[in-house]
Symmetry: C2
Subunit: 478 residues, 2 copies
Amino acid sequence: MTDATPPEALALKLDAATAAFEQWSWLQPADRAPALDAIAAALEEAAPKLVAIADEETSLGEARLNGELARTVFQLRLFADVVRRGEYLGAKIDRADPAWPTGPRPDLRRVLEPLGPVVVFSASNFPFAFSVAGGDTASALASGCPVVVKAHSGHPRLSAATAEVVDLALRSVGAPEGLFDIVYGTEAGRAAIVDHRVKAGAFTGSIEAGRTLFDLAGSRPEPIPFFGELGSVNPVFVTEAAAERRGSAIVSEFVGSFTLGSGQFCTKPGILLVPAAAELLDQFPGTVPDAPLALLNDRIRTSYASAVRELGETAGVRVVVQGGDALPGPTPTLLCTTSAELLASPETLVREVFGPASLVVEYTHESELLEVARAIDGQLTATVQGEDDDTIAPELIRLLAAKAGRVLWNQWPTGVSVTPAQQHGGPYPATTAPATTSVGTEAIGRFLRPVAYQNVPQHLLPPALRDTNPLGVPQHAS
Amino acid sequence: MTDATPPEALALKLDAATAAFEQWSWLQPADRAPALDAIAAALEEAAPKLVAIADEETSLGEARLNGELARTVFQLRLFADVVRRGEYLGAKIDRADPAWPTGPRPDLRRVLEPLGPVVVFSASNFPFAFSVAGGDTASALASGCPVVVKAHSGHPRLSAATAEVVDLALRSVGAPEGLFDIVYGTEAGRAAIVDHRVKAGAFTGSIEAGRTLFDLAGSRPEPIPFFGELGSVNPVFVTEAAAERRGSAIVSEFVGSFTLGSGQFCTKPGILLVPAAAELLDQFPGTVPDAPLALLNDRIRTSYASAVRELGETAGVRVVVQGGDALPGPTPTLLCTTSAELLASPETLVREVFGPASLVVEYTHESELLEVARAIDGQLTATVQGEDDDTIAPELIRLLAAKAGRVLWNQWPTGVSVTPAQQHGGPYPATTAPATTSVGTEAIGRFLRPVAYQNVPQHLLPPALRDTNPLGVPQHAS
């Protein structure tokens, strides 16, 4: 059932997705909502079974997995709400204007329409929320695009079980055949992203795998958008005043954040910049927990061990807390270096380690925070722990906004709220598409493209653009 | 002055652009408006001189060039208005909500911010509107991005003269040094698009050149967005009823559209699908003008001649009106084929010929229009000439909307109005970025990326996100 999908089976699924696209994309947006709601309800009903399988395959624990499933269900209902409201369509109406400065303006009406079949690559670390029925699938289906999911090898049985739940739910509401399907195996994923029937890809995972798929998507005869969320170090900048006034609290909150979920979050803070003068390093040995933390699977455990070893052996890096390897997994590791070392070779020292390890960077002058902000690559998040009267804060925040999709003040980057204003993205390598987000309602925008209708009679216009506005969506007139 | 820019000079310009980015991007959006207005006013003042140079270099004629310059000035002022209003910022505010279903929601505020230095590749066929101070430059500057223009080899003196006007105008308003510059030569363009200081590219031109640059942009260590507007055939679908009721008018309007501007528009209708039964072919020989039409330059004249020859010699294609080669350029050519031939090899018959040639395609059954709509690649435009009661129209319009950025009814695709609802884009090969437009106010979106601010104090937020809303921009709360 979860054997690698052979090319012929993939071709049939993509043919079905293409046929489903005409039906699904031509539905009025609000008429896609029942399918999303049905999937949500079916997942809730299947929760005990799915969570049990997920726990066996990922070791994430029931509490976390129940929470993640609840988030997944919430996302599906949120996108049902998004398509019911129709604001995402961006309907714009320019009526004909004979006096337009550059010559008579025709009647022009613009709306966002779906791209076509989408391949969604599941993530290892969110077996529900960024997997088979996760945010990418929910937003793509909402937009009007069929979805073929490439299951993650870390949780194949859960993937199959979830796909079955989704499939039955879609059948129960009469959704088109082929609207949703799943494939297994690296080769099927590669074949899908270069297939001419596929019009976009969405991915959450490593820089290496994501870049390979991005390159494939871009090298097709017809290149397609590839929305990859790859890697992020999520640096935290602690000002002198903050370190002085609440250094201990920052240390303990930071430890909580980088070890949360065994450090397997894409928003895990991988660097903490602190003033050397605050002498915070001594506080870590008693604060970093020495309990072993389960990792998702053996492959991740192996690559975590080698990444920590490599970073620890880098010139200029010292060990603050040496993690061990026990059962069911490693105990956390904390390393340290100086901002001078970091600025001398940011490409070596600013890099993601997936798992419960992080790097404390001591600085001498607070202005080095600005230098580091200028030196780092694109990030999903950047955080400032500061005080309201910090004089460095305005410039620091502005520099970080140029590098990260989300800038935080006195909070921690782990925990990504699913909301309208959320931005989970950032310049490369955080993502391959810096103008997009994979979390929050704006995620639907990835699968849409604008179409302008010129001088088209009312009865031939998409309903969202008609004068009578039968869908009741916001129409922006000019 | 217009010699190829050497690598060292390019590096200095990009250093200056990078420095300018911090200043320019940190200005409040409305404070960028005076610079755009100053460029507009300076172009108006320099119009007689610039138009004279442009006419020498492009043979487009004073009337057209004056109109194009007016459009260019209008675009600059339009983007000044866009940044003054601030709606483009997409400001969204989610206040903290402890009762949010997936857990306490932090205060999250989202706004669009500029990407960084942009390289703009000028087009040959719009020496003003898609060139040095054209729509790409106007929208990039408006967004907060510095611009380095790669001049088109077809109008180097005009490029230099325009750049000087822009430069003086920017100095007059105290814009940052390095905000705008120009480079010459293919090598400088290639070097710029792969330079780490450049964060996006914008291009209007051929599929071949555009694809080369797109591939370079995507293969960088840090890939960047590349907004290329490449090629389009802009098919026109004439229904049986329309051909019967107003065949002669359609023939003559079509001829006017495909020969307009010597057929050198990216929206030139390159295919006209008509019912064979209407016997419209006979009407073309008397309607297609036999006056020679100047082309932009010798290179375009040569490639036009070979493209027309090649298409004319394709199996299944016949000549309806044989164009000649006279001075100052060719007389128009009209070829014909059948929808059966086209459907048998769309990749051979549906292709852009830049210049005054087009292909009439006769169909037997009206349903073949749907087959052709399904068979074609991405387009900037697709047009239906139909009657309100055509039963084929709803499905035809929907299929064409899946292939084209703009769908027209009973109008002609040449003439692209610069308005808020305009969409000048489309799936590949029409563009390399189907979610974007290079004409209209939405063009500014290409150079922006969202940033979410979490729990950031009021005085550290971008003004557009503050509770007091000092800029008076639309804020969407949820």
